[in-house]
């Protein structure tokens, strides 16, 4: 009887846990228009997060769109690099091309998270905790910038082991921020 109760409780806990997760993902309202133009404007490199919110909702959504595209590009670059590094003879040219995506986007990150671009404004995986812990978030973004630069330097060389180890640090930096400040987002 005791075992049966345990099994039943485990089953219920499993079901509850799953439900809590799906509920959270559906909270985001609004949507970033899919046909808005790709953001090409250069963004000033800043060390700190902007403190002022965008003036209009349209402006906020534009930043969020740029952020989303940029992060997606980063993910694609990481996947391409990871696959090269797993192969027997990594294509250094392909790694360098993807590394450029990383080093170009990394410095933009702090400026892409102004207040007023959270899940209450539009569909985003950015958690409200970002704006509750601005110092920690900024420190993590700065760390990412640092490891991205180091990765760019390693990728410019031909030492595959050095590229592998700096790619691992890059991944750790992505994960440190994502584990804390990103929620699941389906699109």
């Amino acid at each position: 009887m005791r075992f049966m109760t345990c099994a039943a409780v485990c089953g219920c806990v499993l079901l509850l846990g799953c439900d809590a997760q799906s509920g959270k993902a559906n909270n985001a309202q609004g949507n970033i228009s899919a046909d808005s133009p790709p953001a090409t404007a250069a963004v000033a490199i800043t060390a700190a997060m902007p403190t002022a919110a965008p003036a209009t909702k349209a402006e906020a959504l534009k930043i969020m769109h740029e952020r989303h595209e940029g992060m997606e590009g980063l993910g694609k670059a990481a996947k391409a690099i990871g696959r090269e590094l797993k192969s027997d003879s990594p294509n250094l040219g392909a790694i360098r091309a993807s590394a450029k995506t990383v080093t170009r986007f990394a410095p933009k990150i702090p400026s892409l998270f102004p207040p007023g671009t959270g899940p209450d404004v539009g569909k985003t995986g950015a958690k409200p905790e970002i704006w509750q812990n601005p110092q920690d978030f900024t420190a993590k973004a700065a760390d990412f910038q640092k490891v991205a630069r180091a990765f760019g330097t390693a990728a410019a060389g031909s030492d595959v082991n050095a590229i592998k180890s700096s790619f691992a640090s890059l991944g750790d930096s992505c994960k440190a921020c994502h584990d804390k400040y990103r929620s699941k987002m389906k699109h």
């Binding site: 009887m1 075992f3 049966m4 099994a7 039943a8 485990c10 089953g11 499993l14 079901l15 846990g17 799953c18 997760q21 980063l74 993910g75 694609k76 670059a77 990481a78 996947k79 391409a80 690099i81 990871g82 696959r83 797993k86 192969s87 027997d88 991944g171 992505c174 994960k175 994502h178 584990d179």
Partner: protein, 214 residues
């Protein structure tokens, strides 16, 4: 009390339950590396169970419990007696084994959103396929949860009708009606061979399934 479930089958059952719970917990808490290892352990268990289903004790063998619609009908009308999985419960066993096998297969070729973790066979497919596999892997877990819920509910239902099923899955023994054909136990060394094959195939897959992969 007569033996109804052998030790390998019971260990398989509880390890599978524990590893499914652990897989769910680890991925919810961002331990993707543990999640992948847990999936590989489940793969070993599945290979073991499938082999044990052909070479194990009588109650563990598919041939003894997968009996088809006629037997299910007879069971429904109360004309079935025996030990082990009943003909209807056999469907649940097959569904669970099949669903978990599909889940593991999807996980093997999945890649995480950030490009930081790859299933051992993800390099055999494109990035797009690996991303899609991950999405389906996530959705498919709900199917597994549904089957687990059904499984637990069935046990609760039998308990209310006076049949205790959980304790026999722990101790391996149950009160059996006089005249029921007893369990023919499998050989312990056969279980070890099945496990060794499971570990061997899993290691080959973790290595990227050479010569097809890296």
């Amino acid at each position: 009390m007569q033996p109804v479930w052998d030790l390998p089958t019971r260990l398989f059952h509880w390890l599978l339950a524990a590893l499914i719970a652990f897989s769910w917990w680890s991925i919810r808490n961002h331990h993707t590396d543990w999640h992948i290892w847990s999936g590989c352990a489940i793969l070993t268990l599945l290979i073991f169970r499938i082999l044990w289903g052909f070479a194990g004790s009588s109650t563990a063998r598919f041939s003894s419990f997968v009996r088809g619609p006629r037997a299910i009908g007879e069971y429904w009308r109360g004309k079935w007696s025996g030990i082990g999985h009943n003909p209807l419960g056999a469907l649940s066993v097959l569904a669970l084994l099949g669903a978990v096998t599909l889940q593991v297969s999807l996980g093997l070729i999945s890649e995480d959103e950030d490009g930081l973790y790859m299933g051992p066979l993800a390099t055999l497919v494109s990035t797009d396929t690996a991303d899609k596999a991950r999405d389906i892997h996530e959705l498919w877990f709900n199917v597994i949860l549904g089957l687990i819920a059904l499984h637990v509910l069935a046990i609760v239902y039998y308990r209310m009708r006076g049949r205790k099923l959980t304790l026999p899955m722990v101790t391996g023994r149950a009160r059996v009606e006089r005249g029921t054909e007893p369990m023919r136990p499998g050989k312990w060394w056969v279980a070890l061979v099945c496990l060794a094959i499971g570990i061997g195939i899993t290691r080959w897959i973790i290595a990227g399934a050479p010569p097809f992969g890296s």
